[in-house]
C-alpha cells in the first residue's frame, strides 16, 4: 500500500517535473530567440533576463538550488544591469532599430542549424535513454559545495579570484579615459 | 642522480625552456642582454640535461622506452602524462636540443627586424618546449598538445619577423597545419573510442586509452579494417601536411622564404620532422594493416615529391625558395623509406630526418647570412661568393655536397638506404611498384646534384656582380656564425663517416615498433606475408583478439 502510494507520488512528481521542464524550456527557447532577433536592444536585454531566469529554474529542477540562487543573483542582479549600463553608455536608441542585424542572415542560420543537427545527433546517440534520478536524491547542500570549493578545487578557486581581479583592473584600464 | 634522472629527466628537459620563457616575461624588454643570456642559458641547460640523458641512456636496450614517467593527468578521458625515450626519439630529441642553442647564438649576431629580442627569444623557447615534448610524449593527447604548442610561436616568428609577404605566409602556414591537426585529432579520438586497451601487451589499464604504448602493442587490432583505413587517412593528412608531402607542401616554400633565418632553420631542422616522426611513431605501429593499404599512396606521393621538388628547385631564382623546395625532395626520400614498411626503410628514414635537419639547417643558415650581406637572395644578382667571402663559399659548397647525398657525409645515409629499402619493401607490398619508385628516386639524386650545383655555380662561383663588387658589408664568416655552424658541420662529417652512431640507436627501436604484438600474435608478422595472405593474417588476428576480448 505504502509502496504503491510512494510509487504514484514519485510518478506524479516525475510527471510534474517533466511538465515544468518543458514549460520552462519552451519559454527559454522563445526568449533566447527573441534575444537574438529583437530589433530593440533594450528588449533584447530583458529577454535575456528571462532566459537566465529559466536557466536558474532548470538548475533548481536538477537539484542544484544554491547554483540557481547564485545564477539569479549574479546574472540577473549584476550582469544584466551591466549590460543595460553598457547600452546606455554607448547611446543606443531605446526604441527599435532597423540595423541591429546583418540583412543577410542565411549563412548564420545555416551554420546554427547544421550545428544543432550535428549536436542533437551526437547527444541523442550518446544519451538517448539515460535517466536522471532526481527524486530520491536530496538537493546538494551549500555546505557540500563550499567544502568542495575550498578543498578539492582550491587552486582553481584562487585562479578564478586572480582572474576576477585581473578582469577588474583590466576593465578599469581599458575603459579609463586617457 | 640516476634515479632522479629517471623520474624527472625528461620532464625537466622539456619544461626548462618554458621556465626560461616565463622568467623572461617578468623582465622588461629594454634589458636585452639579460634576455639573451637567459634564453641562451636556458637552452644550454636543457641541452646539458639532454646530454645527461644521452650518457645515462641504456644503449643495449635502445628498443625499449626509457626514463618513463606515467602520472595521471586528465583522468576523465584516461589521458595520462606519459613520457619516455627510445632509440627513435633520442636522436630527434638531441637534434632539437642542439639546434635551438645554435639558433640563439646565431640570432645574437643577426637580429631580424623588428628586433624585440625578448619576445623573439621567448617564442623560440616556447617552441623548443613544444618540439621536445612532441618527441617524448607517449600519450596521444599529450602529443597533440605539444604538437600544437609548436604552431603558435612559429606563426608569430614568421608573421612578425618575416619578410615582405610574411602575413600571407604565416597565415597559410597556420591554417594549413591547423587543418591537418584537426583531422589528426579526429583520428586520435577515433583510436581512443575504437581500440581496446585491455588486449594490448603493454600498459593497458582500460579499454579506451590514449596510451601510445598500449596502442602500438595490439590495442588497435580490434578495429575493423574500414575504420582503420579512415583513421590512417586522417593521420596521413595531418602528418603529411607537416612533412610536407607532395600535394600538401605548398605552405612550405612560402613559410621558408618569408621566415627569419632562425625560423627557417628550426622549421627545416625540427618542425618538419614532427610529421615524419608521427608516421614512424604513431601511424605505422598503431595501424600496420592500414599502413600496408596506404603505403602505395605514400610511396607514390613520396617519389612525386622527390621529382617535383627537384624540378621546382630548378625553376627558382630565389635561393631560399630553392632550398625550401629541396626540402620537399629530401623529405620525399624519407617518406619513401617509411612507405616500404621495413625496418630497413624506416631506419633510413630516421637517419634521413636527422641528416636533413643538420644539412638543410646549415643551408638555411648560410642563405640567411648571405641575405644579411647582400640584402637579396636573387640568384641572378649573386655570384662570386667564393671571391668575397671564401670561407662562407666553401661552407655553402660543403653543405650543398652533403645535401646532394655525397657519400661520406650525412646526407648519403638518409638517401641511399631509402632507395635501397625501396628495392625490397615489406612482403605485403608489391615489390614491382616499389622498384619503379626506386628508379624514379634514383633519378631524383641526379636532379638533386643538378639543382644544388647550379645554385652553387650561380652564387659561389664566378666573379661578383658589379652591384656588389665593392660592397664593404660583404665580409666573411663572423664569430657568431662560426660558433653556431661548426657543430653542424662537424656532425655532418661525423655521421657521414660513422653512421652507426644513429643506426645503432634507431635499429632496435624500429624493429620493435614494427613487431606489433597483439594478443593473437604479432601483427608485424603479417606484414611479411604476401598480399592476400597478409590481409587474411590481419583479419584472423582481429577475430582472435576480438573473441579473446569478448571472453
Amino acid at each position: 500500500m505504502t509502496t504503491v502510494t510512494l510509487m504514484t507520488t514519485a510518478l506524479g512528481a516525475v510527471v510534474a517535473q517533466n511538465v515544468f521542464f518543458y514549460m520552462i524550456a519552451a519559454i527559454m527557447v522563445f526568449a533566447a530567440l527573441r534575444v537574438v532577433t529583437s530589433d530593440n536592444i533594450v528588449h533584447a536585454a530583458l529577454y535575456l533576463v528571462v532566459v537566465l531566469a529559466g536557466v536558474a529554474a532548470q538548475f533548481v529542477l536538477l537539484g542544484a538550488e544554491f547554483l540557481g540562487v547564485t545564477q539569479v543573483l549574479v546574472y540577473i542582479g549584476a550582469v544584466v544591469v551591466l549590460f543595460l549600463f553598457g547600452i546606455m553608455l554607448t547611446r543606443a536608441k531605446v526604441g527599435s532599430e532597423a540595423n541591429l542585424d546583418h540583412q543577410n542572415r542565411w549563412p548564420a542560420i545555416l551554420t546554427a542549424v547544421m550545428l544543432l543537427l550535428v549536436m542533437a545527433y551526437a547527444v541523442i546517440d550518446f544519451a538517448g535513454d539515460e535517466e536522471i534520478e532526481v527524486i530520491n536524491a536530496s538537493p546538494t547542500s551549500v555546505q557540500e559545495v563550499s567544502d568542495a570549493i575550498f578543498s578539492t578545487y582550491i587552486v582553481a578557486f584562487e585562479a578564478i579570484s586572480v582572474l576576477l581581479l585581473a578582469a577588474l583592473i583590466g576593465a578599469i584600464v581599458v575603459a579609463r579615459k586617457e | 642522480m640516476e634515479a632522479f634522472l629517471d623520474d624527472w629527466g625528461l620532464t625537466l628537459v622539456t619544461f626548462t625552456p618554458l621556465i626560461g620563457a616565463l622568467v623572461m616575461m617578468a623582465v622588461p624588454k629594454e634589458n636585452e642582454s639579460f634576455h639573451k643570456m637567459v634564453a641562451l642559458g636556458t637552452t644550454l641547460v636543457a641541452a646539458f640535461l639532454g646530454a645527461l640523458l644521452l650518457v645515462n641512456f641504456d644503449f643495449d636496450a635502445a628498443g625499449e622506452l626509457q626514463y618513463v614517467v606515467d602520472k595521471s593527468w586528465i583522468d576523465v578521458i584516461n589521458s595520462r602524462y606519459i613520457v619516455g625515450l627510445d632509440g627513435i626519439s633520442l636522436p630527434l630529441l638531441l637534434l632539437s636540443l642542439g639546434v635551438v642553442p645554435l639558433c640563439m647564438i646565431y640570432s645574437f649576431g643577426h637580429f631580424p627586424e623588428p628586433h624585440n629580442p625578448k619576445t623573439f627569444l621567448s617564442l623560440i623557447l616556447v617552441l623548443e618546449t613544444g618540439m621536445l615534448g612532441s618527441f617524448i610524449a607517449q600519450d596521444l593527447i599529450l602529443f597533440f598538445v605539444f604538437f600544437e604548442v609548436v604552431l603558435l610561436p612559429m606563426f608569430f616568428l614568421i608573421g612578425v619577423w618575416g619578410g615582405d609577404d610574411r602575413r600571407y605566409a604565416s597565415l597559410k602556414f597556420f591554417l594549413y597545419t591547423l587543418f591537418g591537426s584537426a583531422l589528426m585529432l579526429i583520428s586520435f579520438l577515433a583510436l581512443f573510442f575504437l581500440s581496446d586497451g585491455t588486449v594490448a601487451t603493454e600498459a593497458a589499464p582500460t579499454v579506451n586509452t590514449f596510451d601510445m604504448r598500449a596502442l602500438s602493442t595490439g590495442a588497435t587490432s580490434v578495429i575493423a579494417r574500414g575504420a582503420q583505413l579512415w583513421i590512417f587517412g586522417g593521420m596521413f593528412i595531418g602528418f603529411g601536411v607537416k612533412v610536407p608531402m607532395f600535394p600538401f607542401h605548398t605552405w612550405l616554400p612560402d613559410a621558408h622564404t618569408q621566415a627569419p633565418t632562425v625560423g627557417s632553420v628550426i622549421l627545416a631542422a625540427v618542425l618538419l620532422k614532427l610529421g615524419t616522426y608521427g608516421f614512424v611513431r604513431i601511424a605505422i605501429p598503431f595501424l600496420p594493416e592500414a599502413a600496408a593499404a596506404w603505403a602505395p599512396v605514400i610511396g607514390l606521393l613520396a617519389v612525386i615529391g622527390i621529382i617535383y621538388g627537384a624540378l621546382g628547385c630548378l625553376a627558382q631564382s630565389d635561393m631560399k625558395r630553392l632550398i625550401a623546395f629541396s626540402s620537399v625532395a629530401h623529405m620525399g626520400f624519407v617518406m619513401l623509406g617509411i612507405s616500404t614498411l621495413t625496418d630497413f626503410g624506416i631506419n633510413a628514414a630516421v637517419f634521413g630526418m636527422v641528416s636533413h635537419g643538420l644539412i638543410t639547417g646549415m643551408l638555411f643558415f648560410v642563405a640567411g647570412s648571405m641575405k644579411d650581406r647582400y640584402h637579396t637572395l636573387d640568384m641572378t644578382r649573386l655570384g662570386g661568393l667564393l671571391v668575397q667571402a671564401p670561407k662562407m663559399g666553401w661552407i655553402l659548397g660543403f653543405a650543398s655536397m652533403a645535401s646532394l647525398g655525397l657519400p661520406g657525409l650525412a646526407g648519403f645515409w638518409g638517401e641511399f638506404p631509402a632507395i635501397l629499402a625501396a628495392y625490397n619493401p615489406a612482403e605485403i607490398l608489391s615489390a614491382n611498384v616499389w622498384r619503379a619508385y626506386m628508379i624514379v628516386a634514383a633519378l631524383g639524386t641526379v636532379l638533386a646534384a643538378g639543382y644544388l650545383l647550379w645554385m652553387l655555380q650561380k652564387t659561389a662561383f664566378g666573379t661578383p656582380t658589379e652591384e656588389f663588387e665593392h660592397d664593404p658589408h660583404i665580409n666573411d664568416v663572423n664569430r657568431f656564425e662560426w660558433i653556431s655552424w661548426s657543430p653542424l658541420l662537424i656532425l655532418i662529417v661525423v655521421f657521414g663517416f660513422y653512421p652507426n652512431l644513429i643506426f645503432d640507436l634507431t635499429d632496435p627501436a624500429v624493429i620493435k615498433s614494427l613487431q606489433v604484438e597483439g594478443l593473437g600474435g604479432a601483427a608485424g608478422d603479417c606484414l611479411s606475408l604476401a598480399k592476400a595472405a597478409g590481409e587474411q593474417c590481419f583479419a584472423d588476428l582481429r577475430d582472435a583478439v576480438g573473441s579473446a576480448a569478448g571472453n
Binding site: 549563412p107 551554420t111 550545428l115 | 573510442f193 624540378l311 648519403f412 634514383a442 641526379v446 647550379w454 635499429d507
Partner: protein
C-alpha cells in the same frame, strides 16, 4: 681428403696474410689526413701545404710498394705450397715444397700434425714428384660500419693483386703529379686548396681501390667524382670552367644512378651482402639469378660509361680539360676514369656471368668498348687543342680496356690500364710542359717546331707517343697486343677460336683503332714539335689563363726540373713496364720471367671469387700483323704532314686544297667529328633536336644492347631470351632517355637549365596546387561573402574580377579573403568545426 694441385690450375686457395696487407687502410688514411692538414694548416706553411701533400703521397707510394712486395711474396709462398684441406672451404699451406725432400719432411712434420688433427690424408704419390701450388685468397679485414634491420654491415679493406697494382699506379702517378704541380701551379691564388684536393682525390681513389665491399666502392666512386669536380672547376671564376666541372659531375651523376641501382640489385640478389668476394662467388656459382645479374651488370655498365668516358656519355671528358693540366694527367692516368674499368675488373664475376662473356661473340660491354675506342680515336683526329687530342685518346684507350674486359681478356685490360697510366700521364704532363712555355694549348696557333726549344719535353713526349701508338718494344705494344690476342678473333682466322668466344668484330675494331691511334699521334707530333713555330706574336692567353704566374714573353723555353724529372721517370717507365708481362714462351724465356704481371695480379679462380677465364695463346703472326698496321698508320700520317704539309708550307697545319676541301663526303665527316658526333647538341641543344636525338640514340642503343644480349644469349646460356632482350631494349632506351632528360634539365650549360620541365613544374606549383589551395579558401569565403557583402557593393566587384588573375594576384586574393570581419571568420570557423565534428561522429 687432401689433393695436391698443379700450379697452373690450382683448385684450392689459401689465405694470404701480412701486416701491410691487413692494414692497408693506412694508405688512404694518410692521404685523408694530409687533406685535412693542408686544409687547416696549409696556408701557414712556407710552401703552402704542398710539402705535406708530397710527403704524404711519397709515404703512400713507398707503402704501396711494400704492400706489393708482401703480396708478391705471398703469391710465391702459395706457388710453392703443398695444400692441406682443413674443412670444406678452408685450406692451409701444409708445407713449402721447393724440393721433394723438404716436402717429405713437411708431410712428416707439419703435414702429419694437420693430418692427425683434421683427419686429412696427404697424397704424396705422383709420377712427377709432388704437385704444388695454390691460389691465394684476398686479404680482408673489416669492422662494423653501420647496422640496419638487425644486420651489421662492415667497412674494411680487401687486398689482392688487382688492388696492389692499382695502389702502385695511383700513388706513383700521384706522386709525380704532386711534384710537377709545385712548379706548374706555383703562385696560383688557391695553391693550398689545389694541393688539399689533390690529396683528397688520391685518398678517395685509394679508398676506392682498397674497398672491401661494393658500398664502400660507391662511396669512393662518388668522392672521386666530387674531387674531380673541385679540381676541374679549380679556376671557377670563369663560367666555362665551372660549366665544365658541372657537366663532369652531372654526367657522372647520371651514371651513378645506374651504379646505385645496380649495386642495390646485387645486394639483394646475393642475399643481402655488400661483400665483393661473396657477390662474385655467388655469381660464379650460378647461385644468383642470371636475369638479375644481367640487369645489374647493365646498370653498372651505365656507371662505367659515365665514369670511364665510354661512348655516349664521354662528352664530359674533353670538357674536363678546363682543369689544370696535372689534374688532367691524374684524372686520365690513374684516378677518376680508371675507376670504371676497376669496377668491372673488381666485380668481374658479375659481369662475366651477367653478360655471358664466355663462349659468345658479342656483348654489351665489348660492344660499348669497341665503339668507344673507334669514336675516341676518330675524334682525336680533328682537335686543335693538344689536351683534347689526349682526352679523346684516353677515351679511345679506355674503350680498349672495356673491350678487353668484355671479351674476357681480364689481365690484358688491367695490364693496359697499368701501362696506359704511365704513358698517358707522360703525354699529359708533356703537353702541360709545352703549354707552360707557350701559354696555350692550341697546337695550330701557338705551337710548331717546339723540338728546338724544348728538347727534353720533345724526347719524352715522343716516347709517350710511340708507347701509345703501340710500336714494339715500348709498353703500349705489349698490352695492346695482349688485348688483340685476347679477343680470340685471330684464332678465328686461324681456325681455332679460343674458348672465351671468338670476338672477331672486336679484333677488327681494335686493329682499326691501333692504326688510327698511330696516325693521330703522328699528327700531334708534327703539329707540336715539327714545322715552324707559330706562336710568339700571339699574346692572348686564351685558355691557358691562370697557369702563368710568371708569364714569359718572347721565345718558348724548356721547363724547369720539377717538371722535367717526372717526365723522365715516366718516359723510363713507358719504355720498360711492358716487359713485366711478356707473353708466355716469348723467345724461350723461362716461366719465372714471362707473364709476371698476370701471375701476380690476376686472382686465382681457386679463390672462388674470380671466374675461370681461358687465356688465349699469344700469336707471333698477330703481333707482326698489328705492328704492320700501326706502321701503316704512322706512315700515312707521316706522308701527309711531314712530307706534303711541310713541303707546302712549313708553318702550315693542314694541306691547303687537301682531301677535305676536295671531297664533300670527307668534309661532311670532318664536320661531324668536329662537332663530336653532335652528341653535345643532343644533350644541351634545343628541345626538338634534343628530343629527336635522344629518341634516336636511345633506340639505337637499345637495339644494340638488345641484339648484343641476343647474341650472347643465343649461345644457349640462358633460356629466357625474349624477356632479356626486351629488358635490354627497355633499359637501354630508358637509360638514355633519362640521361638526356636529366642532362638537359640539369647541365649547367646556360642554354637549357631552367627549360620546359622545371618551368612546367613551377607553373603547376603556382597555378594549380598553390592556386587550388588559395581558391579553396577564396571560394569558401566567397560563398559567404556573396551574401555578406551586398551592403558593400564595392567589394563584390573586386571579388568577381579577381577570380582568374595570375600568380602575382594570389597573395592579393588571399588578402581579400582576410576581410578582417570577425564574424566572417567565426562563420567559417564554426562551419569547419561542424564538418569535423560530423566526421568524428561518422568515424566512431
Amino acid at each position: 681428403m687432401t689433393s695436391l694441385l698443379a700450379a697452373e690450375e690450382a683448385s684450392a686457395a689459401i689465405q694470404a696474410g701480412g701486416f701491410f696487407l691487413e692494414n692497408v687502410w693506412i694508405i688512404p688514411a694518410i692521404m685523408a689526413t694530409s687533406f685535412a692538414c693542408i686544409l687547416f694548416f696549409g696556408k701557414r706553411l712556407p710552401k703552402g701545404g704542398s710539402e705535406i701533400g708530397i710527403a704524404a703521397v711519397l709515404i703512400c707510394f713507398l707503402l704501396s710498394l711494400v704492400t706489393a712486395g708482401q703480396w708478391i711474396s705471398e703469391v710465391n709462398r702459395a706457388d710453392n705450397c703443398v695444400v692441406a684441406q682443413l674443412s670444406e672451404d678452408k685450406y692451409i699451406c701444409a708445407a713449402s715444397a721447393d724440393g721433394a725432400g723438404e716436402f717429405a719432411s713437411a708431410v712428416g712434420s707439419a703435414g702429419s700434425a694437420v693430418a692427425a688433427e683434421n683427419d686429412v690424408l696427404v697424397d704424396a704419390e705422383g709420377d712427377e714428384g709432388p704437385a704444388k701450388g695454390a691460389g691465394l685468397k684476398p686479404v680482408i679485414s673489416n669492422r662494423t660500419w653501420w647496422s640496419n634491420g638487425g644486420i651489421n654491415f662492415t667497412v674494411g679493406t680487401m687486398v689482392d693483386g688487382l688492388t696492389v697494382a692499382l695502389l702502385v699506379v695511383v700513388s706513383l702517378v700521384s706522386t709525380l703529379v704532386h711534384i710537377y704541380s709545385t712548379d706548374y701551379v706555383a703562385g696560383d691564388r688557391r695553391f693550398t686548396h689545389y694541393f688539399a684536393f689533390l690529396s683528397l682525390f688520391t685518398a678517395a681513389m685509394l679508398f676506392f681501390v682498397t674497398a672491401e665491399n661494393i658500398l664502400q666502392m660507391i662511396v669512393g666512386w662518388e668522392l672521386v667524382g666530387v674531387c674531380s669536380f673541385a679540381l676541374i672547376g679549380h679556376w671557377w671564376e670563369d663560367q666555362s670552367n665551372s660549366d665544365a666541372a658541372l657537366k663532369a659531375f652531372l654526367t657522372n651523376r647520371v651514371g651513378d644512378m645506374g651504379l646505385l641501382i645496380g649495386m642495390i640489385i646485387l645486394f639483394f640478389a646475393s642475399g643481402e651482402t655488400w661483400s665483393i668476394v661473396d657477390i662474385n662467388k655467388l655469381a660464379i656459382e650460378h647461385t644468383t639469378s642470371h636475369t638479375l645479374l644481367l640487369i645489374a651488370s647493365l646498370c653498372l655498365l651505365a656507371a662505367v660509361m659515365s665514369k670511364s668516358g665510354q661512348f655516349f656519355l664521354h662528352t664530359w671528358l674533353p670538357d674536363a680539360m678546363a682543369g689544370p693540366t696535372p689534374v688532367s694527367a691524374l684524372i686520365h692516368a690513374a684516378t677518376m676514369v680508371v675507376a670504371g674499368i676497376y669496377l668491372v675488373a673488381r666485380l668481374y664475376g658479375v659481369f662475366f656471368e651477367g653478360l655471358s662473356i664466355a663462349g659468345s661473340s658479342l656483348n654489351a660491354l665489348a660492344l660499348i668498348g669497341g665503339i668507344t675506342t673507334l669514336v675516341g680515336a676518330s675524334l682525336a683526329f680533328v682537335q686543335d687543342d693538344i689536351k683534347k687530342v689526349l682526352a679523346y685518346s684516353t677515351i679511345s684507350q679506355l674503350g680498349y680496356m672495356a673491350l678487353a674486359l668484355g671479351v674476357g681478356a681480364w689481365t690484358a685490360a688491367i695490364f693496359h690500364l697499368f701501362t696506359h697510366a704511365f704513358f698517358k700521364a707522360l703525354l699529359f704532363l708533356g703537353a702541360g710542359s709545352v703549354s707552360h712555355s707557350v701559354h696555350s694549348f692550341n697546337m695550330k696557333t701557338h705551337m710548331g717546331g717546339m723540338r728546338k726549344f724544348m728538347p727534353t719535353t720533345y724526347k719524352t713526349f715522343l716516347i709517350g707517343s710511340i708507347a701509345l701508338a703501340g710500336l714494339p718494344p715500348l709498353a703500349g705494344f705489349w698490352s695492346k697486343d695482349e688485348i688483340l690476342v685476347g679477343t680470340g678473333g685471330w684464332g678465328f682466322f686461324e681456325g681455332k677460336p679460343h674458348s672465351n668466344g671468338a670476338y672477331t668484330v672486336m679484333l677488327v675494331m681494335g686493329m682499326l683503332t691501333a692504326a688510327m691511334t698511330a696516325a693521330y699521334m703522328t699528327r700531334v707530333m708534327y703539329l707540336t714539335f715539327f714545322g715552324e713555330f707559330r706562336g710568339g706574336h700571339h699574346d692572348d692567353h686564351d685558355d691557358h689563363g691562370h697557369d702563368d704566374a710568371h708569364a714569359h714573353h718572347g721565345d718558348p723555353h724548356e721547363s724547369g726540373p720539377r717538371i722535367l724529372w717526372p717526365l723522365r721517370i715516366l718516359a723510363f717507365l713507358a719504355v720498360t713496364v711492358g716487359f713485366l708481362n711478356l707473353p708466355p714462351g716469348f723467345l724461350g724465356l723461362p716461366k719465372g720471367i714471362t707473364e709476371r704481371f698476370g701471375h701476380y695480379v690476376e686472382p686465382s679462380s681457386a679463390a672462388k671469387y674470380f671466374p675461370k677465364i681461358n687465356h688465349a695463346d699469344p700469336s707471333w703472326s698477330l703481333a707482326i700483323f698489328s705492328t704492320i698496321v700501326v706502321s701503316l698508320g704512322v706512315a700515312a700520317a707521316y706522308f701527309y704532314y711531314f712530307v706534303r704539309v711541310n713541303r707546302q708550307n712549313p708553318a702550315g697545319t693542314e694541306l691547303v686544297g687537301g682531301p677535305t676541301s676536295r671531297f664533300g663526303l670527307l668534309r661532311a665527316g670532318h664536320t661531324m667529328l668536329k662537332n663530336n658526333y653532335y652528341l653535345d647538341h643532343i644533350y644541351d641543344g634545343g628541345a626538338p633536336v634534343g628530343a629527336a636525338g635522344a629518341t634516336a640514340v636511345g633506340a639505337l642503343f637499345g637495339v644494340a644492347a638488345g641484339s648484343a644480349l641476343g647474341f650472347s644469349l643465343d649461345n644457349g646460356l640462358d633460356q629466357s631470351f625474349v624477356p632479356s632482350l626486351i629488358w635490354g631494349i627497355v633499359l637501354g632506351g630508358s637509360v638514355f632517355a633519362i640521361v638526356s632528360t636529366a642532362l638537359r634539365t640539369g647541365v649547367g650549360a646556360a642554354t637549357f637549365v631552367k627549360r620546359p620541365l622545371a618551368w612546367a613544374t613551377n607553373w603547376t606549383h603556382e597555378n594549380v596546387l598553390d592556386a587550388a589551395v588559395d581558391q579553396v579558401g577564396i571560394r569558401s569565403v566567397q560563398a559567404a561573402e556573396v551574401v555578406y557583402t551586398r551592403i558593400d557593393q564595392g567589394v563584390i566587384d573586386g571579388t568577381v574580377n579577381a577570380a582568374g588573375s595570375g600568380s602575382s594576384g594570389i597573395g592579393g586574393e588571399l588578402r581579400r579573403m582576410t576581410t578582417g570581419k570577425v564574424q566572417q571568420y567565426a562563420t567559417v570557423m564554426f562551419a569547419g568545426a561542424i564538418v569535423l565534428a560530423g566526421l568524428l561522429i561518422i568515424v566512431i
